[in-house]
Symmetry: C2
Subunit: 315 residues, 2 copies
Amino acid sequence: MSTLAERVLNKEIRGVARLITLLENNSSEATDDMKSLFAHTGKAFIIGMTGAPGAGKSTLVDKFTAELRARELTVGIIAVDPTSPFTGGAILGDRIRMQQHSTDDGVFIRSMATRGTLGGLTASTNGVVNVMDAYGKDIVLIETVGVGQDEVEIVKTAHSTIVVTVPGLGDEIQAIKAGILEIGDLFVVNKADKEGADETARELEIMLSMSQEKLDWKPPIIKTVATKDEGIKELVDKVFEHKEYLEESKNIVDKNRIQIETHMKDVLREETIQRVFKALGGEEEFEKLIHSVAERKLDPYTAVEQILEKVLKKK
Amino acid sequence: MSTLAERVLNKEIRGVARLITLLENNSSEATDDMKSLFAHTGKAFIIGMTGAPGAGKSTLVDKFTAELRARELTVGIIAVDPTSPFTGGAILGDRIRMQQHSTDDGVFIRSMATRGTLGGLTASTNGVVNVMDAYGKDIVLIETVGVGQDEVEIVKTAHSTIVVTVPGLGDEIQAIKAGILEIGDLFVVNKADKEGADETARELEIMLSMSQEKLDWKPPIIKTVATKDEGIKELVDKVFEHKEYLEESKNIVDKNRIQIETHMKDVLREETIQRVFKALGGEEEFEKLIHSVAERKLDPYTAVEQILEKVLKKK
């Protein structure tokens, strides 16, 4: 019987799907496979795409992917959705994604839900990127709804980050957008056939010129109408210009280093927490401590110190 | 010289501000003070307020606070803003908050910025709640922009959570709203003088009736026009009805337990990570590992195992 890692390298789609599910569940079963796959990673070019809800990212990803396929590149897509805090399900996950690619072996699509504050999401997203990379996808595209810090963090590990906006968003949304200005390598004004597209592009240009100078790479602003397939070729061209820039300037070495550092810190965080909770000897002991704190017999900080005393080696 | 904890208990506002700053920076300097303050907590009633950008929450908080003051209650306000991922600054933090309360000793306002995936935000938010509680505020109000999981997590530790919406938000925003439906103890349709307010209230009612039944408490839907001070008294009345319900049903014991569990897990997470990174012996060793992983001589999972081997006690 083949391991999941072998099945991924043999391009067995069900092995890929299975391994990603294990990663999503932070299952330790995935670890051995991920270890042996890692040597086969580092080949894919990773693109992040983020923007406000309603910016038309799904359609854009759809057309963007079609253009990459026309250039005979294979694509892995990771769509990250905000999660309902109580059910744990992805809110937008049931939207129908890119049906035209569903029968194309050259495209692999996976929806993932953010999980809250454990840092588990970024840990598993980086792992999923590794799986798609080892699976042989030329391009890995991470799409997130740019509503929160978590979502934005994810695209920081991409080689090229595309920030998508549209004309006529409200003021408060514009303010939030300012926060993701700094992470964009490329900017898209989608729905550019709507009123105000030129103003939006101009505003973007002004805001970009005011933010810290990126010495060598000036982020281009591309107008698209994804529903009509307008501007998509130019966007793909610009992404490859950015890729070329990264390679020639050797900045890609830094980007890779940052990606690996982020990945390692996320895995470290996740593993540490899991082991500490495990070492607590199950929930029972933790429950006892909660009870004492709830009764104000103990404070949370002293309780945590007692736990760490048991778990960590002395230095 | 007095400790910060003593200064908080003596109601010295600058001591309060200083301790909160230490908490925000996850400084270990705060720990001893937090330990001694903890016995003085558990008296404040904690209210969470969340909703989409543009729902008019700031004005609502303003009027809500004025009504609480009219009832001779003191108020601590924690306003949580999404953070710019690169600068680390709060995006909306510079909006001018509630100037009418700035000279009122009975109101203490603090803006905080979310910090990303470390879980540091919730850890410090719970700490700040403790400080305001020990400082003697009757009500602690946590206001967040309900854009991400992180922000929503925060209000989960409140006794009463108010979800604010407005008429005429787009479809996609409505979809996100569905995710926070389940956390609301009370719902507000603000800007209720705008077209579609009745429809929005009716839709909410339908959605609430479809979600899991809350056996004893049926979340009320209150229409407000915060700018005109309409509906605010009713909202405050309803919050106190909810408080009474929690106390009579003893559900407040569960809410307190959940708050303490969340707080302890957050502190545990934060402390563990800090100590593990510290125990790594500074950045140098970690850098070496990153370098090996970047060169694919080592995989991230094995690297993390090596680190944990050094840091954790054997079981």
